[in-house]
């Protein structure tokens, strides 16, 4: 289960060593969840929007083949070159070849979880290309040599004093200054130089419209637009599932996206790239990386509907208290925990267990993905395929036996209560994971069943 890296529980335990920091992290994310609620409650038709968005995405999945061909045709008509990549390796090679052809050594990139999924930065760096992430949060983690811990708020786990120290070392801001205004301005000035001198700009894609062949990119900072409009070459990288049928459907998705993500009514910039500027090259790279296989799975297909708003992160009691890096995947949180096992079941077998199955993720999801159901279903798949530890497997088998036979169920209950009463140390020890950071409850006199038979059944 954890042959190549430490698992979620171990990483979360490390994150939890600093209790006040965990509280701070928890509260910061809950604050964003509350902003999301306020924004959603201002829209009387919010539930109708979610249902419509969900149905549009279902339609996309059932017609993905035709929509992709329609998008390709229209994008080509608009002047784009469309590339197809089965794997991250193929994706990265396509991007590198375009950069080399343009004769560029340094490029700017706006936020794209897809390029994180492909580990594009490492690949380009190894081939002598200087990649600069231009989203402020992503720039901060890039300077620190870390991956983002959140897909919308990449450095949500950093405190401003730490960013002040990082910027002091990297950008020469005054030591000890942690004013967000000053730090943001320092990044603005520094990144302007990169924008002005980069001939290639990479962006992600929020939505790609089959009907018109245009792509939509949403940012608050304006970094995608500055990068693209100052570059000779624009490379847009997207997953196959980002297609939507008609332009008017953007009305549904753009109303949901920012409200779900940060509680804003819309991001500052929602840019519709339809045709490149005169003399500019425009490339669109479509990545599969397991998506076409997932499409065939009745249980796990719905995860492809995700629009990457991260509302499920902000609401998740486990994410808020364990931090994004505990998930050891590009996309953390509940949605990441159902995406990751599809890519590598063995490596990510711990993630579907990093949940209380409380269902809050499914309740806030703007496209109604059944996230907590999928977490539960992944657990069953993982156990069947032998990807859980022996202790967990024995425990589950034992539980299954107890729950299958009324006689064992009844006797084990009273036996358990008897042991807890007279030999509490058998439960209150380190072998019992439930005992960690918890007191065991006092064993009740009798079970609910016994109480019910005595008090109610005779009536």
């Amino acid at each position: 289960m954890n042959s190549r890296h430490t698992d979620h529980a171990t990483r979360a335990e490390k994150f939890n060593l600093d209790e006040s920091r965990v509280d701070w992290h928890d509260k910061t994310l809950w604050f964003i969840r509350e902003k999301r609620d306020k924004a959603a409650w201002q829209i009387p038709e919010w539930e109708q929007l979610r249902e419509t968005a969900s149905q549009i995405k279902n339609n996309v999945l059932s017609n993905l083949h035709d929509y992709l061909i329609e998008f390709e045709k229209n994008a080509q008509k608009n002047g784009a070159t469309v590339h197809w990549a089965s794997t991250p390796a193929e994706h990265n090679k396509i991007v590198l070849d375009i950069i080399k052809q343009a004769g560029a050594r340094n490029i700017v990139k706006s936020k794209s979880m897809l390029t994180e999924e492909c580990h594009l930065n490492e690949y380009l760096t190894a081939h002598g290309i200087d990649v600069v992430d231009t989203d402020l949060g992503e720039r901060i983690v890039q300077l620190a040599g870390e991956p983002p811990s959140h897909i919308v708020l990449p450095c949500i786990h950093w405190k401003k004093e730490e960013i002040g120290e990082l910027f002091h070392q990297e950008l020469g801001t005054p030591k000890g200054n942690a004013d967000p205004q000053l730090l943001t301005n320092a990044a603005r000035l520094n990144l302007r130089n990169h924008f002005m001198t980069s001939r290639v700009a990479i962006t992600g894609v929020n939505f790609a419209v089959a009907e018109t062949g245009e792509i939509v990119v949403c940012t608050n900072e304006g970094n995608a637009d500055l990068g693209v409009q100052l570059a000779d070459v624009h490379i847009a990288c997207m997953g196959l599932e980002k297609i939507i049928p008609r332009r008017k459907h953007l009305g549904v998705f753009l109303r949901l996206l920012a409200r779900s993500a940060t509680g804003q009514p819309i991001t500052t910039y929602s840019s519709h790239f339809k045709k490149p500027r005169e003399g500019q090259q425009w490339h669109i790279v479509l990545l599969d990386n397991g998506r076409s296989e997932r499409l065939g799975s009745n249980d796990f297909r719905n995860a492809l509907k995700c629009i990457r708003c991260a509302a499920c992160f902000n609401t998740c009691p486990v994410y808020r208290r364990s931090g994004g890096h505990s998930y050891h995947t590009t996309v953390a949180g509940p949605i990441g925990s159902i995406l990751a096992p599809g890519l590598d079941m063995k490596k990510n077998a711990d993630l579907p267990f990093a949940s209380t199955l409380c269902g809050s993720c499914s309740n806030v999801c703007p496209v109604k993905i059944d996230i907590h159901d999928q977490l539960y279903k992944w657990r069953q798949v993982l156990v069947r395929n032998g990807h859980v530890s022996a202790i967990k497997a024995i425990g589950m088998k034992g539980m299954a036996a107890v729950l299958s036979y009324p006689f064992i169920y009844n006797t084990s209950g009273s036996l358990g209560r008897w042991i807890m009463r007279y030999f509490p140390f058998l439960f209150s020890n380190r072998a019992n994971l439930w005992y960690k950071q918890r007191e065991m409850p006092k064993a009740p006199e009798k079970s609910f069943r016994e109480w019910y038979i005595k008090n109610r059944k005779k009536k």
Partner: protein
């Protein structure tokens, strides 16, 4: 077989049962579009100013941006001629403020739709230090649904919803205006 065909073949093989496309049947209408737009724009860090003609805008700019050498506009009515568009978009970096015509505004989110036709250069609305957009006050719609009905009638190569000044809250959720794009945004509502 190349990657494209292999991917498409896998998709075709794995397509789920047909799921019909829903109709988007949402008709929200605000009674006072101008007030709703102004309130929303203010809440996202922008400023709305009502004007009756172009001379008001010109006065406002001259009053607030003394150095008109760094002011640029694509609106012929304003006649700011100090800077002309050259082939190099990087030259626009020194622009203090640009005044551009938007197509219409959206009351629910404070956004203004602007297309490349009115940008002069595509980089201008993003590279200038401050941005002003001009729309007719009767060109405000309630929601994005109505907005896309209007957009269907507009021909563009680049179309952008701009809602407020550029911003970030990446440092401890503290809101800072002026991330990479404009540090402030004024929307002039022309009666």
């Amino acid at each position: 077989m190349n990657s494209r065909d292999r991917i498409l073949e896998r998709i075709k093989k794995n397509l789920p049962q047909e799921s019909p496309l829903p109709s988007v049947d949402i008709n929200t209408n605000f009674s006072d579009l101008k007030e709703k737009f102004k309130a929303t724009l203010t809440s996202i860090g922008g400023t709305a100013i009502e004007v009756t003609d172009w001379s008001h805008i010109k006065n406002y700019i001259q009053l607030n941006y003394l150095d008109t050498d760094q002011v640029i506009s694509t609106a012929p009515q304003l006649n700011f001629k100090a800077h002309t568009f050259k082939n190099d978009p990087r030259a626009l970096e020194r622009i203090k403020i640009s005044i551009l015509q938007g197509s219409f505004g959206v009351a629910e989110n404070g956004a203004v739709w602007i297309t490349d036709t009115h940008m002069g250069d595509r980089v201008l609305p993003f590279i200038n230090e401050h941005l002003a957009l001009v729309i007719n006050e009767k060109d405000i719609v309630s929601t994005l649904h109505q907005a896309y009905e209007k957009i269907d009638l507009i021909n563009y190569s680049l179309g952008v919803f701009i809602a407020g000044p550029s911003k970030t809250a990446d440092i401890e959720q503290s809101l800072v205006l002026g991330a990479h794009g404009a540090k402030s945004l004024v929307v002039f509502l022309m009666t």
